[in-house]
Symmetry: C3
Subunit: 345 residues, 3 copies
Amino acid sequence: MTHALYHHTLADIARHLGVAFDGDADKPIRGLATLKEAKPDQVAFLTNRAYLKDLATTQAAAVLLHPEHGKNCPVPKLEMENPYLGYAKLSQLFDPLPARDKPGIHPTAVVADSVTIGKGVSIQAHAVVEEGVTLGDRVVIGAGSVIGADSMVGDETRLHANVTVCHGVVIGKRVILQSGCVIGGDGFGFAHDGAGWHKIAQLGGVVLGDDVEVGSCSSIDRGALGDTLIGDDVKIDSQVQIAHNVIIGAHSALAGCVGIAGSTQVGKHCMLGGGVGLSGHLTICDGVQVTGMSLVTNSIHKPGVYSSGTGAMANSQWRKNAVRFKQLDEIAKRLSRVEKSTRDT
Amino acid sequence: MTHALYHHTLADIARHLGVAFDGDADKPIRGLATLKEAKPDQVAFLTNRAYLKDLATTQAAAVLLHPEHGKNCPVPKLEMENPYLGYAKLSQLFDPLPARDKPGIHPTAVVADSVTIGKGVSIQAHAVVEEGVTLGDRVVIGAGSVIGADSMVGDETRLHANVTVCHGVVIGKRVILQSGCVIGGDGFGFAHDGAGWHKIAQLGGVVLGDDVEVGSCSSIDRGALGDTLIGDDVKIDSQVQIAHNVIIGAHSALAGCVGIAGSTQVGKHCMLGGGVGLSGHLTICDGVQVTGMSLVTNSIHKPGVYSSGTGAMANSQWRKNAVRFKQLDEIAKRLSRVEKSTRDT
Amino acid sequence: MTHALYHHTLADIARHLGVAFDGDADKPIRGLATLKEAKPDQVAFLTNRAYLKDLATTQAAAVLLHPEHGKNCPVPKLEMENPYLGYAKLSQLFDPLPARDKPGIHPTAVVADSVTIGKGVSIQAHAVVEEGVTLGDRVVIGAGSVIGADSMVGDETRLHANVTVCHGVVIGKRVILQSGCVIGGDGFGFAHDGAGWHKIAQLGGVVLGDDVEVGSCSSIDRGALGDTLIGDDVKIDSQVQIAHNVIIGAHSALAGCVGIAGSTQVGKHCMLGGGVGLSGHLTICDGVQVTGMSLVTNSIHKPGVYSSGTGAMANSQWRKNAVRFKQLDEIAKRLSRVEKSTRDT
């Protein structure tokens, strides 16, 4: 379902983007769509050359595109150097969620007396806010979400439904926590006495910077002593696990199913592909990209792209190769012997 | 705990399976068990030749098996061409859950005035159903579950406890959503302006077909513009992540911890093993199987079994081979030189 | 945020650890910290030789360390053969959580009439406890958690907020369930009739032994017929998936993102690294360690360390090697031919 409950005029949209336009200022625009699927009351965008073929026949009310493609656009155009950024800005205009937020505390929400609540806060049905929590202005706490004692939530942060923020967690401004995520569960720390395990109480917290997003069902564990630290503008997808005392630098992005073990530090502007695993106690410098499902067991000190693993192939072919992997050291030694024997010949 | 609260006669069971039987029609049957563990009031089944050895000594009240094994069965038998299917059908008879559902809305549930509610619906304690939602007949909403605004839930669909369905999600009939799963969290979309990230509001929804099952703590993200589409009879295990605008064809099955990146299309009757990762924007045709923990980075256009990776071995052996992997290109080149030199000799 | 709301004297601490000490008995201690960061009212510890360099300059009130380092300690010392174990015990003293628990049932909690409740139990806001549940003494049920019908929870077990325990689950004593985890969701079982899937009702339960911990957003599925069994003192990190009828032996530890497929048995004192995958129906003996992100597809009958995969390298280097992996069988055959030809020469 593409939501088209609200509309804006073409002039509103151009103003929102800060660009000139050449069409009917009052034309109502009810949403966004691809070039191919856009209806006459929708704005389309061209952000990928692969879709240039759809430009000539688009039915869109207007197209957001780079100036180099402007001359081929059959409908009113909105030209930007970075049309993908324009699309992002425009998408927010059509999000039905913010218009639905009603400030106020639902009668079924349980909010401790000692909670400090900013202006325009919305606390929805069955949410629980425990003792000593501070909520900034315009915070939204979705239905069924729980915020543990002494945590702080910055202005304009949104917890979707069924989010858990444990005690003593600090969350910045404009943070978005998707449903099912858990911020501040215990880190995984145990001492062994030779027979079994003794729990190390996790006494640190979690600090999320401003503009962080955490995806559905992701977990960020609290620190053992110091805090787990997530920098400003870090974007974390769904099903991600971040262990205790991890530090993630500002503006880094972690795709789905990433797992980062304890005390590892990831730099700024890093990008981790889906399913990437980082061992514990590593240092990953700024500007590192790791491709999907790679395992990183050593620190990385040089920006660039890193990978491991091998891609899927037909099982019949794979079996033959995989069995050879177990002989690889032997193969290398045999090769050396052959090289020696041919040199000696 | 094998639940044995309810019982059926042997005649009930044979009728339920649509097969003849040769024993005491009124014998009470209190549950199912393996051949080895079955007590005299339980039905056992033989679906795997590995357990044929347990047939002669089984204490079961009756055994569900293929006709080829009927002659060796020491107790009353229920013969079917597909006894595993018979076991599935029989298991549902003994599930204690449906008998417990009490139609009605628990007094602590919060249901918006604008919700449309079918016949025989059960909404349990502390569930929240937001504005504009439509619930079909005999829908069950477990304790603590939240259904966001304008979503639709088809007849006989069950949400277990603490499920989150976000706004604008469409769910078919007879769907089962296990606890902790999240349907319709935001997809992971951001535009970069050279300094940081701008969120792309996720304006699409999620559509789940009929007879879909989604496991515990799994997440299916909403589309960026169009919808994320899960076909009829798709079975999704626990801890699975499905990104925005993915399409899964009917009757496919995804085992635990699978991750599928954005806009990838998986065909019908596919099977993805545990921990499999699919990169984004791929097309996987019908009838593809991918073995556990494989990484698929290219589209697959031919049905069959695909694999990647290598299985575990003793660490001492593995170290030697893994280090050679980093020399593999060099090994191949050295081999070519040796081949050339021996040919030249 | 390191929590330092409560304090103990140095004498209290020495008594708690059962060790002698040589400083001011009444000195108030407000928390724990590393040697480097400890303030004069904190106890530090030396558990890793890498930090020996910080001992001489520590500002700590006292240091917990092995007797061999005692002579170099500039402040009062607490000597133990296993100082890491001492740190674990001490950390529990400073955990702010237990002091906050207030016995009693929050007025918004929904507790069925048939529930049996021990002494000193705390059931927090919006928790739901269904029919026939038994709660032992001093059990804590966090806000928003749900316990399904007929489940049993042992003495001193803690469910953090938003935990789901499904019906018919048995939980031991002193178990800790982190937020968002799901115990007893349906296992993934379906029979195929040639056209589509038929659900196998999951009639077994889950049994968690004493002293088990389960991390945030982890899931342990109920058995198909018999139970899924987690032994005493098993520690399970976040984002872990344990499928139906898995058995985990006592004292084993599973790091984040581990996935274990159905009916696999893991021995006692095993350690599975982050992201490890075990195929179904395997037997892993006692004392096995598997390193991070390894895939185990065969049973392991000998204690030791096992591994698979290859670590990340620069993408440019990786590409060349990964493509050779697909030629590995051919490389091995070519090597054999070359060997033969050089022998023949």
